[in-house]
């Protein structure tokens, strides 16, 4: 293996990770249709490529060649930039996910993540929270009542659930004493330490629920909610910009799955095999991530959508008190040195 300068290794790492992210997002569009088909006793797309694997490619080609429409009275600048604003934050957030520990690549020792930040969990939440701007702006700039309502709902929902999300993460952070995701992941890899899912089951539960709400996925997809709002915030979008919204959604789902893996399932940790090589850890990480992604799809095709007041009730009257309680309990347990 030739030795490359450090910057080149970083570029390669970034290219591979972003390529993989886009690949996963593309595959998710296929997986979504496949899983829905299986749950409904159908077969799903199977015409393009083996098992329909090239379907995302065909869809992409189709999206690119579709005519793009901008409605009368829309704000053209915001209308054009909104999909990018929706997709970009999710892609940025993936930068700090620690996929595996230190590896030797092209003669350089490096961590298998795009970058490492000491406050990476804060970074993920901060950047991930920006994604909502794309949706709000897309909804507002479309000059359509459906889009506007979809955007507003997305904003309200984000505010309600971001709190619980952060509080549930905070419990985990308190437990490991660091905001660095790598530290949080590594802390769970010790042989005598349980994964956070076992030590913080309530936080895990809250996180998973908020994860669905944060990515506007069923049963909390009020920003789209086809039966009421036609298509919600993306009603007026077409062509590749429409696809970009979905790309952003799938990227956000991937990031959230990675985050859940790191925070609660110990990242790449394999039980009873502490000295597993880095590729095995990576594979384990991806498997855990895939399980969360599958959960997204599985839930979507199983549960009906909430009503909006139920969503708000749940967010403010159940999730938030529980998250606060959990945080205080965790703090108390740490203070009492139970953990």
């Amino acid at each position: 293996m030739p030795t490359l300068p450090l910057w080149a290794v970083w570029v390669i790492k970034a290219a591979v990770i972003y390529g993989a992210l886009l690949g996963v997002a593309a595959l998710m569009s296929l997986a979504e249709r496949k899983v829905s088909a299986w749950i409904q006793y159908r077969i799903g797309p199977n015409r393009v490529g083996p098992f329909g694997l090239l379907q995302p490619l065909a869809d992409g080609v189709k999206f690119i060649f579709k005519e793009e429409l901008i409605p009368d009275g829309a704000n053209p600048f915001l209308f054009r930039i909104a999909p990018a604003l929706a997709a970009l934050p999710a892609m940025l957030a993936i930068a700090v996910i620690p996929f595996a520990g230190e590896v030797e690549l092209f003669g350089q020792r490096t961590n298998l993540s795009v970058t490492d930040l000491p406050i990476s969990s804060l970074y993920v939440l901060a950047v991930g929270g920006l994604g909502i701007y794309g949706i709000i702006l897309g909804g507002w700039s479309s000059n359509s009542k459906y889009s506007l309502l979809g955007g507003l709902r997305a904003a309200a929902q984000m505010v309600s659930y971001e709190l619980s999300l952060i509080l549930s993460i905070l419990a985990v952070v308190a437990l490991s004493g660091s905001l660095d995701l790598r530290v949080i992941a590594d802390a769970q890899q010790a042989p005598d330490v349980l994964w956070n899912v076992a030590r913080q089951p309530l936080a895990f539960l809250l996180f998973v629920v908020c994860m669905f709400a944060e990515t506007n996925r069923h049963p909390f997809d009020f920003a789209e909610s086809e039966p009421e709002l036609v298509g919600g915030f993306h009603t007026e979008y077409s062509s590749m910009r429409f696809a970009l919204f979905f790309l952003g959604e799938y990227c956000a789902m991937t990031v959230m799955s990675c985050l859940a893996t790191v925070l609660f399932l110990g990242g790449g940790a394999i039980p009873f095999w502490p000295e597993a090589p880095w590729w095995a850890a990576l594979a384990c990480f991806l498997a855990k991530m895939s399980a969360f992604l599958f959960l997204y799809l599985w839930v979507r095709w199983t549960l009906p959508r909430f009503r909006f007041d139920q969503l708000m009730n749940l967010g403010w009257k159940v999730m938030l008190p529980l998250a606060l309680l959990n945080l205080f309990a965790t703090a108390a347990l740490i203070a009492l040195e139970v953990y």
């Binding site: 899983v35 088909a37 299986w38 749950i39 409904q40 006793y41 159908r42 077969i43 539960l205 599985w298 839930v299 095709w301 199983t302 549960l303």
Partner: protein
């Protein structure tokens, strides 16, 4: 007016989570059930003698069609899909169609022609596929409608059985 009293939810139901678990297990099990999708062009529709496909003209074993162009199907046809012109023939039946067109675009596959036919000359085949590049090509003439009796035998037997059900037992033949 009916007042519907809703059932009080149990604690487990109020908690959502057990119910969600139940739903998830249901949909997970559904994933391993037998698929109902039919891969259409490769797996064509199953047809049997009850299938009412496009009408076809019976070619008898002597090579002639059984039709005598009596026009019963033309009259019975609710979609005006059938056009018949008669002509004279030296065969014993005296009369045969010189033109027998069915506009398959008009045909609604109702089977009235089959029922109306006094000569057992037209039967509903199991052929259902219909596609072409021009409308004119879908106006089928005699040559396109001809099918050997053997190809329609199952349907013919079925229609006979069906008719026998309604036949009065006192009938002499």
């Amino acid at each position: 007016m009916v007042i519907v009293k809703r059932r009080e939810l149990s604690l487990a139901e109020k908690l959502y989570l057990p119910e969600i678990g139940r739903a998830l297990s249901l949909s997970l099990r559904a994933m391993f059930r037998k698929r109902v999708t039919r891969q259409y062009p490769e797996e064509p529709l199953p047809t049997n003698e009850v299938t009412r496909g496009q009408p076809r003209l019976v070619v008898k074993d002597d090579g002639n069609i059984a039709c005598v162009s009596c026009g019963m199907c033309e009259v019975a046809c609710p979609a005006y899909a059938i056009t018949i012109d008669g002509g004279e023939t030296d065969r014993a039946i005296e009369r045969e169609p010189v033109r027998f067109d069915i506009d398959m675009l008009r045909c609604i596959l109702c089977g009235f022609c089959e029922e109306a036919c006094p000569k057992d000359a037209i039967f509903m085949s199991n052929e259902l596929e219909l596609a072409d590049f021009s409308r004119q090509a879908l106006v089928y003439d005699i040559e396109k409608l001809k099918r050997p009796r053997s190809a329609l035998q199952k349907r013919i037997d079925y229609v006979y059985r069906l008719n026998d059900r309604w036949r009065k037992p006192s009938s002499t033949r």
